[in-house]
Symmetry: C2
Subunit: 178 residues, 2 copies
DNA sequence: GTGTCTGCAAAACCTTTGCATGATC
DNA sequence: GATCATGCAAAGGTTTTGCAGACAC
């Protein structure tokens, strides 16, 4: 089997046709919340970002576009988007959470390059099935799950074969060395 | 297959016979570091904790025993223990890292109960194999990996069937609601 | 004795919150 | 007009760091 069979290419990101706006709006209405200008702007921006991003990065991109939004509003909006399942958050141990929009996307797992910080996605149905089976056997109700593989990506490994050793121990877990 | 086949019972924790001390000592010596009283005490305490623990909890248990160790030393020592692979750290999104000693233990994955915070461990060789295959196919050098399943454990689910719904959305990701 | 370690307090970091002002329904 | 949202600055929690004194080799 070649890698392409389960590697997910975010460049082929499905065009949602803006359907996420309807989802967001009705979610807000249901809860007596308001579809404000800031929330509209943020939703659009988030769905234009087809990579994983941190709150800080989102804030910077908004600034680049001359759109002002306070840090507090960014965090608060990301929170609401998580609650209505338009967004997922992942912690790769880098200190900040990485977000990605999920509307129209299947669950997938992540590969994280410790050197260049590139995030790749893949899906393996058999792994998913095994997880289901473990939880079912244990009477555990699975609500979410995350599989992360940390290491050195092909490109980085090709450029510098010493990287493997450098990141081999638990050393990279120390914040000061990240 | 019943759950017991791959569920790991930490109560049957292997007696290392104190071999971790030799590992730690030679690791330190190799790097020109010192095997101090504080490091010795902390190593022993860590290997007496057969559950996952946070830095704060370790600090508290040391205080209970009348052993003084500063917060800074605890964090610094945990760091060194991670580097020499006597310890693993896991982030379950609770704000603080959970540590567990790993000497003499196989890699395993975790189930985390969002309600009672209980951590269970399991191992599934086929999942491990699939991960190997994915990374091999992609030319990715895997250095570590973590699979976490979040949900409601059997006991909590039996006591309160409404828990599933309460934790069902991404809401629990918000720190303020944790 | 030299170089490392410890403890303390202060800082760093990401994220959340209180409050007064401003927008939405 | 009542309620919710925003922005700012301040606070929150965990983890890290600077520095002076203490310890290990």
């Amino acid at each position: 089997m070649s890698g392409e069979d389960y590697l997910i290419d975010k460049a082929q990101d499905a065009d949602t046709g803006g359907a996420e706006e309807a989802v967001f709006e009705s979610f807000l209405k249901d809860r007596g919340l308001k579809y404000t200008k800031a929330r509209k702007t943020l939703l659009r921006k988030v769905f234009l970002m087809h990579d994983h991003f941190t709150a800080e990065q989102l804030l910077d991109r908004l600034k680049d576009d001359g759109i002002a939004a306070s840090k507090a509003t960014v965090y608060r909006t990301l929170s609401v988007l998580l609650e209505c399942s338009l967004l997922d958050a992942h912690d790769f141990g880098e200190g900040a959470l990485y977000y990605e929009h999920t509307f129209g996307h299947q669950h997938h797992d992540h590969l994280f390059c410790l050197h260049c910080k590139r995030i790749m996605e893949f899906r393996d149905d058999e792994i998913e099935e095994h997880q289901e089976r473990v939880t079912a056997d244990l009477g555990f109700e699975m609500l979410s799950h995350s599989l992360k593989i940390y290491g050195i990506c092909k490109d980085c490994g090709a450029k510098d074969s010493a990287l493997t050793e450098r990141y081999a121990t638990g050393a990279y877990l120390r914040r000061s060395e990240r």
